[in-house]
Amino acid sequence: MPNHWLTFVAITAVKSAVLLGVLLTAVAYTVWLERKVIGHIQNRWGPTRVGPFGLLQPLADGVKLLLKEDISLSGAYQPLYIAAPILAVGLALTSISVIPIGESITVRGVPVQLQIADVNIALLVLLGVTSIGVYGIALAGWSSNSKYSLLGALRASAQMVSYELSLGLSLVGVLILTGSLSLREIVNRQGEWPWQWNVIGGGQLVAFFIYLAAAFAETNRIPFDLPEGETELVAGYHTEYSSMKFAMFFMAEYTNMVTVACVATTVFLGGWHGPVFGPGPVRMALPLFWFVLKVFFFLFLYIWVRATLPRFRYDQLMAFGWKVLLPLAIANVLITSFVVAVGT
């Protein structure tokens, strides 16, 4: 009984579990990658002690964080203080669920899509979840009852609300080209080769860079990491967090990075599309490989930028968001729709 709703639930549960595992591993190794890459860029080695090339370092970090004392603040507003990290990590993990990572495969006669939920309005769901993501940070900062935290949270919420606009608008060009909000549709519209991807073939190069910048801001990454700028705010909104709660924020941030990377891949870089060749198993594996490769490229870009660029000043950040990115995004939407209108 392939169409029974129990089958659906079972398959979804399995997919979720697998994705969760992969994602958390990916997050852990993104951290490792970051330390390694930055180390090399800065002419250091990075982690080397734990395991070969320091490969077990993430595991060690996890254990350390788990075992650390969970400091409970007397001045904090406890319910929200506790809820905030959960909210952050939960939302971060939620958003990955609508991202398609490959074509559907058939397992024992049951078609299984390599995507947890194929939603018509996947892109809107992503944006929605992203916009909710502010709350984790904002509440964390506020409930800590600490001025650094509060300042960080205020900055974060203002920054995220501002850049959300550019982020959303940068995707509109692609939506116009595709005519659908479904991520699977968007991917399917793109071809195997880079010139068939939206970023080049669709003429969305500008949109891609807008998305890139906005995504950096949304994930509070350098050069837009003002909410947690350690040189001025100690650690921003998570100053007062320790142990697992801190780990949750940490995880949330890197999960968000991965999510953003996945979205960029899906929307602009053709998703799992790429040259497919070779025998059956290879043909099966190649799309997944291309997808992972593109996401990895994106993550590398994050790290690379972090090692390269200094932090913005806050007014520069706002000015950049409202006066450069937003007009550019709007112009991109206008031009794209004009081209599409003329083309049809």
């Binding site: 769901v125 929605g128 916009s131 509440l139 506020w142 919420s157």
Partner: protein, 164 residues
């Protein structure tokens, strides 16, 4: 069946959230309650086949408007609500009026809607359709709302600006 279960669950969450909004003394709790209400409303919208509305309910309401509220609460560091003298008018006129409003509406609705049933998936509003409607039939209202938004932005800037 599934529809009924989901409806009752999320309707209950809605009402509970709204009640919590009233009961909580701290504005941030009220705001979070409201976010909960909005979230469950988004789910109800999904049940009613309004995907796009559900999405923008989350994006605009929960993601933007309520962030603004939270932001202001944080900015003003609003504390617990203080007890101050009640309003006689509100007590004498207001509460009965509310009871009357809800009661009458419910009575009228139940009496007149009869056996109109909504099926899950019976109607799915496509985003494309909404797009057509907004940019064709409702073009003028749409443009007017854009002007409204612009005015609101300028008004907010003027109001909140510090006077030198």
């Amino acid at each position: 069946m599934l529809h009924q279960i989901l409806f009752f669950v999320f309707a209950a969450v809605c009402v509970a959230g709204a009640l919590n909004l009233l009961v909580q003394r701290h504005p941030i709790n009220s705001a979070l309650s409201l976010i909960v209400v909005m979230g469950s409303l988004a789910v109800l919208y999904l049940l009613l086949g309004a995907e796009f509305v559900a999405a923008i309910q989350v994006i605009v309401y929960a993601g933007a408007i309520m962030v603004l509220f939270i932001f202001v609460i944080m900015l003003l560091n609003a504390g617990e609500e203080e007890h101050s003298g009640g309003s006689r008018v509100a007590a004498v006129l207001g509460y009965p009026a509310v009871a009357l409003l809800v009661g009458l509406t419910a009575w009228a609705v139940v009496r007149s809607s009869g056996s109109a049933n909504l099926k899950l998936g019976g109607f799915v509003g496509s985003t494309e359709g909404i797009g057509y409607l907004v940019f064709r039939g409702f073009l003028l209202p749409f443009e007017v709302t854009s002007v409204l938004i612009l005015i609101a932005i300028m008004g907010a800037v003027v109001l909140a600006r510090k006077e030198d």
